[in-house]
Symmetry: C2
Subunit: 275 residues, 2 copies
């Protein structure tokens, strides 16, 4: 075991890590935190620029951590070994896994998204809970979505809770942040059908064709979608609920409509194969 | 404003409320906590026996709280007015709403469930996170499920985080706790088709008939389903994911298969109407 580079919780670099939990600090520094094995692995896969990797090998869970740390260092990151006590202080988790990185915030302009072909996009408007946004990103990745647009963001996607709840899919699903008017304009210009999910929808989600270029729009749990999306949408759909309406959270609603699109596309694709 | 019954955070009844966050204390007392407007309203709807209602009218969010408190008292509950400081100490929430009740734990035997007709059941095996169990209950209610069976429970459904994440649907969706063998036996005896959700499923969830008496079984995020369910199931289904497989959490998987059953049943029912 080598001597750690940082052995005291009073080290200014540990304090700087704790400060990055705060949005103002993140925005001022243009940096954010990535913690955990899966999150870091996806960050490398997604080409995120990692500035510094803080490690605490005593906390590693398995044999893969050493290799992942080497992969991070190979991208040009500084490696800093930290003793257990200061690492626990810097960690955002109850059970730290010994891997905590500072990364450079990446651009989130809507021009990042490839809107050609037959995209399947998720638009999330005004989502307030980082956990919900993270779950939406994770689910959009599972559904093979082309990208996620966060419209009128109230949650900072670089929030450590988004990184965590997304399991790092934040780095692999193309993500854009835009005002609702800008997003609606870009979708229209690209000929993408805008489908708003709302309790007042005129058609069931499963009775609506989602096989073409489609943007599925979901609103916040508390306020639903704004009139910009409700009136600007090409179609308003509802998820029929035999039970009570307030029992579906925003991320769950997003997952149900995304996987209905997956179902329709799988069936259309197998019909093409046999036709 | 009347004088509160409890004005000090050192009051033994406040301490007793805090202790009920602990499972051993809950089990020993046969009691649990219900906090918040929607949760309490659903508890009354679900016939839960509320022993004591602690209120802090200074924290009420709206005009309905007084009426709800009156409804709770009308069921026979003792009413205890609490000053703001001790109420905040007793509250489990960051933003207390002034309503916190002690209720009697209700029976959770599998005989509570009505397995006749064409039930749609959700079986959740080994779920560890209270938030996931709560979300499953909430989603099962939205889907109009007949009931939820918690198999080989590692999470206490009377955990305050289950009450909260379920928004109180814990009290309105029939809930049973059972060992996996007992649950499987009861489902078989009732002629209910057991459909296990697993990455190794032989058919897509949407290519499987879910319109008959059906129990949809989902496992824990970390370990998936046990062999008892995988081998005991009448069918094993998979949710096809164009993206990466570890990106769907257990509650999301449950919601996607539940709402696929809702879709199939809605279509079958409209076909019946026109046939």
């Amino acid at each position: 075991m080598t001597v750690p580079d940082i052995s005291s919780a009073a080290n200014p670099r540990i304090k700087a890590l704790v400060r990055l939990r705060n949005r103002r600090e993140r925005d001022a520094a243009g940096r954010f935190l990535i913690e955990g094995y899966r999150e870091l692995a996806r960050a490398i896969d997604g080409g995120v620029s990692i500035e510094t990797l803080f490690t605490c090998p005593e906390l590693y869970l398995g044999d893969n951590d050493v290799g992942l740390a080497a992969r991070v260092v190979a991208t040009g990151a500084e490696l800093v070994a930290v003793a257990e006590e200061p690492f626990r202080k810097a960690s955002y988790r109850d059970r730290p896994e010994g891997l905590l990185a500072v990364a450079v915030q990446f651009p989130t302009g809507i021009d990042r998204l490839d809107l050609t072909g037959t995209p399947l996009l998720l638009v999330a408007e005004g989502i307030e809970k980082p956990g919900n946004l993270g779950t939406m990103l994770r689910t959009a990745e599972a559904a093979g979505a082309t990208g996620v647009i966060v419209a009128d963001a109230t949650t900072d996607p670089f929030n450590p809770n988004v990184v965590r709840a997304s399991l790092g899919t934040l780095f692999t699903v193309p993500l854009a942040i835009a005002a609702s008017a800008e997003a609606l304009g870009a979708l229209r210009a690209a000929g993408i059908r805008v489908v708003a999910t709302t309790p007042a929808g005129e058609a069931a989600h499963f009775a609506t064709d989602l096989t073409g270029p489609t943007a599925l729009v979901v609103g916040s749990e508390q306020y639903g979608l704004s009139t910009a999306w409700l009136e600007g949408a090409d179609q308003r759909i509802v998820i029929p609920m035999p039970g009570s309406v307030d029992s579906l959270n925003a991320a769950m609603a997003a997952g149900i409509v995304l996987f209905e699109a997956v179902r329709q596309r799988a069936i259309a694709s197998s019909a093409d194969d046999t036709g």
